[in-house]
């Protein structure tokens, strides 16, 4: 024992680090290059069974569909957002107003009757798709400012079949 201790005294265990560092740097560069920053994406689920399916005449929907109309300018921007026959205007304020109107219709969010309610969106052919998404968003609910949770309004969204472009234009 004493002898061994004497031998190791003052000697330094030298490991050759360069090989490891080479590999580690390679790995680092690989992971840095393959990194792709993806913004979180969300989905709006829409259930659209094929049209022309025989609907059971006994199951008449208890509520008529809430009609939301989106009219477009020739360049595709929003010309008017209509709730029923009322014009709510354009821009973010219109979608907020739509959100309020939907809340008025359903009364209380989360009420079981909201499951039977549906919104039908009727959009012009050339309207930019972002407006439709905003309208769908305004109908499906809102984000609670205090808790950040989503308060759901109406989840059933339908689309009116598109009018052919020639007729719309």
């Amino acid at each position: 024992m004493a002898r061994r201790r004497k031998q190791s005294k003052g000697e330094k265990l030298e490991t050759n680090m360069s090989a490891m560092i080479d590999i580690v740097f390679q790995l680092l560069i690989f992971f840095m290059l393959t990194l792709k920053i993806v913004e979180p994406e969300g989905d709006f689920n829409i259930n659209m069974p094929a049209q022309g399916q025989p609907t059971n005449p006994d199951t008449v929907p208890p509520f008529p569909d809430i009609k939301v109309k989106l009219r477009a300018n020739p360049d595709g921007t929003l010309a008017g957002l209509f709730f029923g026959s009322r014009n709510l205007g354009i821009g973010p304020a219109a979608f907020e107003q739509l959100n309020i109107e939907i809340l008025k219709v359903i009364g209380r969010p989360g009420d079981p009757i909201t499951k039977d309610m549906a919104v039908e969106i009727d959009a012009d052919y050339n309207l930019h798709f972002s407006n439709v998404i905003n309208a769908v968003g305004a109908c499906t609910g809102r984000v609670d400012k205090r808790s950040g949770n989503i308060v759901k309004y109406i989840e059933k969204i339908k689309f009116k079949p598109p009018t052919p472009q020639a007729a719309a234009g």
Binding site: V24, D43, N47, P49, A50, L127, H128, F129, V132, Q165
Partner: protein, 160 residues
């Protein structure tokens, strides 16, 4: 000052330990945040933004992703007004309204795998400036092919 032995060669010794520590930390960081998940998303599609679009809590098992977007230049401006269906057939863009045959093939492919089309979600990743009518007609084509469940993608975040 330590006494230096006269015949010992001076050796510059760098302490590598902190550097290796940091490098390992970096590797661990990049490994954790990088995901190798094969996504069919296409970067050319500029998705609309909505506060209600929250990433789904449960991942859908079977999905068909349809990227509808425009060719854009470096600044993100449209170079063409014609929307295309990207990343669909062999990486070649196709016109959305002439994709009916391919959609039917996809439906058959799901059938061959023994997956019921009712369980397949068609994820429509449409650009914010795509005409709504084109998206609707594309959905119609999907319905003709037998798909029933649809989802429209949007970036989560406050409206622009």
């Amino acid at each position: 000052m330590a006494k230096r032995e006269p015949n010992a060669t001076p050796e510059a010794e760098v302490d590598m330990t902190p550097m290796i520590d940091i490098v390992f930390q970096l590797i661990a960081f990049f490994m954790v945040i990088s995901n190798f998940e094969q996504t069919q998303a296409d970067e050319r599609v500029k998705l609309p933004r909505d506060a209600l679009a929250k990433p789904p809590e449960v991942k859908v098992e079977h999905s068909l992703v349809l990227n509808v977007g425009f060719y854009r230049d470096m600044k993100g401006e449209k170079t063409d007004t014609q929307p295309w269906l990207f990343n669909f057939v062999d990486g070649e863009p196709v016109l959305p309204l002439s994709s009916g045959g391919q959609l039917k093939k996809e439906a058959k492919l799901f059938g061959a795998k023994g997956i019921d089309l009712k369980e397949v979600t068609v994820k429509v990743r449409a650009d914010s400036e795509v005409q709504t009518g084109i998206v609707q007609e594309l959905i119609k084509l999907c319905q003709d092919a037998g798909f029933e469940t649809f989802a429209m993608s949007a970036m989560s975040g406050p409206d622009e």
